[in-house]
């Protein structure tokens, strides 16, 4: 009898879990982060301090969900034998962030270094959870990275919040066999794409030109990014500019909302069983995805091997050459760590050392962010059999250069994504007015930000 109660409770009694975590927080008094934070931004750590720290026996904790990252860490440990790194998988994405926030509030149990996705950097920077890496020489790394990826880790005051690890410049994967069957040329513009979608739907209503998932705000942000829209800008830490329903966004909403309403583009939720089945069974003729997509698809839609090809995203104007980004992550150092130097050097090493970055790209299939690797022909010219031998990496390496550098994320990304799902995503699912949904999204986020104490201008 009690097992049932407990089972339901543990799953349901979030208030208790939460409160327990907060009790710890009360005891911990918020951690030692703030004290060390102020000092570190001012002074640069000298080389002799770095040498001393890197030869002192130290154990670092590193939270990351990259599979087999131990092999890159081994290279680091080989170079700095005094430093031992404990790799912990604390969950992928949101679950890890939740744990990190709890540990930071508790003031204990947080890692020294942590994997953070690009879009979450402002969220964690706002809560003073990340360390500025400038004192450890991070600014000198700038030229090693693709400019837009570097721009993603730089704060409004010039802080360097993390070192980029991988990225997701967006392109289009398409089914060559389906295109050939219905006489569709690879669309170069969004107008051609829409025409192809209608043509395809008329020829076979069971095949959708693409699936714009009702649950994937990341793609929406990527498409906004491509269209040059700046949904969020943060001129200072306590103010935010929210522009979710401006002209650029409305253009996108009219376009996609219209295609979905007419039933020529589907809006199924993604990364679930039905979606995998749909990919395997040829329900979608294209997948608008990121540079990590090709290898992911090859593993998830084995039944369609050899039938896919890759191309850049269609453009809003013929001859234009722009893309956005979806996904990608970084290594950051947690504010309050006792080993800031060693942690900063870990972040630097695994993401800049040529052997380590090559491993990331060729064994874990993370899409590179270093200029060196994106110019390395042994990586980019590699033909992928799933794509009929097309050197897909080369295509995405080219796309990576076309991503706008100035796109910014809000300091409350979770809420922005949640509200996107419940407004814009919902309008896809219900085939209702996406433009009206944009206004709701704007309204909800504005209210939320004001309620959280931000100065909001539109």
């Amino acid at each position: 009898m009690f097992i049932n109660r407990i089972r339901r409770r543990t799953s349901a009694g979030t208030a208790l879990v939460l409160a327990a975590a907060l009790v710890l927080a009360a005891c911990g008094g918020g951690g030692g982060g703030s004290a060390s934070g102020g000092a570190s931004t001012a002074q640069t750590v000298s080389q002799s301090d770095i040498d001393k720290a890197m030869s002192t026996p130290t154990e670092l904790t590193f939270w990351t969900w990259v599979p087999n990252i131990q092999q890159e860490v081994n290279l680091f440990e080989k170079k700095y034998p005094a430093i031992k790194v404990k790799v912990v998988n604390a969950g992928q994405g949101t679950p890890q962030y939740t744990k990190l926030r709890t540990a930071l509030k508790a003031g204990t149990g947080f890692p020294d270094a942590v994997q953070i996705e690009f879009q979450y950097i402002p969220t964690f920077a706002l809560t003073k959870s990340l360390m500025d890496l400038r004192p450890y020489g991070a600014e000198a790394l700038k030229d090693k990275f693709v400019p837009w990826t570097w721009q993603q880790v730089v704060g409004s005051g010039g802080q360097v919040w993390a070192v980029p690890q991988d990225s997701g410049p967006m392109g289009m994967l398409y089914r060559k066999d389906i295109f050939d069957k219905y006489g569709i040329a690879v669309p170069k513009t969004w107008d051609e794409f829409a025409a192809a979608a209608r043509k395809l739907h008329a020829a076979d209503p069971n095949v959708s030109m693409t699936n714009l998932a009702q649950s994937q705000a990341g793609v929406w942000f990527g498409l906004l990014w491509q269209a040059g829209v700046k949904p969020f800008e943060t001129p200072s830490t306590d103010s935010v500019k929210v522009n979710l329903n401006g002209d650029g966004s409305k253009k996108l909403a009219t376009y996609w909302g219209g295609l979905i309403k007419d039933g020529v583009v589907s809006a199924d939720a993604d990364f679930n069983d039905a979606w995998y089945q749909a990919l395997n069974r040829g329900k979608y003729a294209t997948w608008l995805t990121a540079a990590w997509g090709p290898v992911f698809l090859a593993g998830s839609a084995k039944a369609t091997a050899g039938k896919w090809r890759a191309a850049p995203l269609p453009q809003w104007q013929a001859g234009q050459n722009a893309s956005g980004n979806w996904g990608g992550s970084t290594t950051a150092v947690v504010q309050g760590t006792k080993n800031p130097i060693a942690a900063a050097k870990l972040a630097e090493f695994i993401n800049t050392d040529p052997a380590s970055t090559k491993m990331f790209a060729t064994q874990q299939f993370l899409f590179p962010v270093t200029k060196a690797l994106l110019a390395d022909s042994s990586y980019v010219d590699q033909p992928l059999p799933f794509y009929g031998g097309q050197p897909v990496n080369k295509l995405f390496a080219g796309i990576s250069d076309t991503v706008d550098t100035k796109f910014q994320w809000p300091p409350f990304l979770d809420q922005a994504v949640n509200d996107w799902n419940e407004t814009v995503g919902k309008s896809f699912a219900n085939k209702s007015d996406t433009n009206a949904a944009l206004d709701q999204w704007q309204d909800r986020i504005t209210k939320y930000a004001q309620n959280q104490g931000f100065k909001v201008n539109q």
């Binding site: 339901r8 219900n430 931000f454």
Partner: protein, 313 residues
């Protein structure tokens, strides 16, 4: 010599007896406390303290910019007028009113069938009904999610083969029913076991008396077994009140399949979770949790009140 020995005996005897009595007395009390202590420690640390702290938290508002301010009952007044919370409470109340009677009737019929002794392979039947309860609700939700699949799910394919339109299990109008189905599937066996256990405790002479009076199996079930089950049924209903109002696992897992149908305010518990972990509104989430707790207390009390009054009349 003897005097002194006697004296010593006299002096020591009562004190030793007293000491023994004392030791026995104290010993009893202290072993009792020792047995209860681990529970009390966990109870206080894991339930009382967090509750007190959550209550304390619910009186403040912590903002991303500007820190924490005392809000008094502000979070509670906000919650009482929050349409999303009220919608959620209404939804789980509807869920309770429809799902629980269906589940308990099935559980009752199953328990009576097993108890009747007329069923072949009663043990296998009992285990079969109970088995879904042993399936973790995460697995259950994944499994049903697959079965409910719109394009390639087995039900859809069957409907397609028969030339019927595919059932829309995951649309907003069907979702509550689909969830009720999963919960019924999961918990019918559990309730059946409670009822069956209670049936085994009914004194056999009652059955004999009924048989002497010429009552058949159905009459015995109606007039003796079901009345005897009233306390057990009440336990089931109270558990179901709590379970329904705290609904979280099943909708949260179904959310991946139909994120636009199950939004973050679909059930009150889901809403509190989303407030705390998505919006970082920990204080407001605490207030929402307390109000939900209050709703559950009131609903449980209402069930008790109605049933006890009915049994008396």
């Amino acid at each position: 010599m003897s005097v002194t020995t006697d004296q010593r005996l006299e002096a020591s005897a009562p004190s030793r007896r007293e000491a023994r009595r004392q030791r026995r007395g104290v010993g009893h009390a202290s072993t009792g406390y020792a047995f209860v202590a681990p529970f009390m420690v966990v109870f206080v640390a894991m339930l009382v303290l967090p509750l007190a702290y959550a209550a304390y938290l619910s009186l403040f508002q912590e903002r991303l910019i500007g820190g924490t301010v005392f809000a008094g009952l502000g979070n509670y007044t906000r919650a009482l007028t929050d349409p999303r919370l009220l919608d959620g409470v209404g939804r789980v109340a509807l869920f309770f009113v429809i799902q629980v009677p269906v589940m308990l009737v099935i559980a009752l019929v199953a328990a009576l069938a097993i108890d009747s002794g007329l069923l072949r392979a009663a043990k296998a039947f009992r285990l079969g009904i109970f088995l879904p309860y042993a399936v973790p609700s995460v697995v259950a939700a994944l499994m049903w999610g697959y079965l409910y699949g719109r394009d390639f799910g087995p039900f859809s394919q069957l409907a397609g083969d028969l030339g019927l339109p595919a059932p829309k299990f995951l649309t907003s109008s069907w979702m509550l029913g689909s969830l009720a189905n999963v919960v019924t599937w999961e918990f019918t066996g559990y309730n059946m076991i409670i009822l069956y256990a209670a049936l085994r405790a009914v004194p056999h002479d009652l059955y004999e008396a009924a048989a002497v009076d010429g009552a058949g199996a159905i009459r015995t079930a109606w007039s003796i077994k079901i009345p005897a089950l009233r306390p057990a049924l009440l336990v089931c209903v109270i558990f179901s009140v709590i379970g329904s109002f705290q609904l979280f696992n099943e909708p949260q897992l179904m959310q991946r399949l139909a994120p636009s149908v199950i939004d973050s305010g679909y059930t009150p518990n889901l809403y509190a979770y989303s407030l705390a972990f998505t919006g970082q509104e920990v204080n407001y989430a605490a207030a929402v949790s307390f109000l939900l707790g209050a709703v559950i207390v009131v609903a449980s009390y209402a069930v008790l009140f109605v049933t006890t009054r009915r049994s008396r009349s």
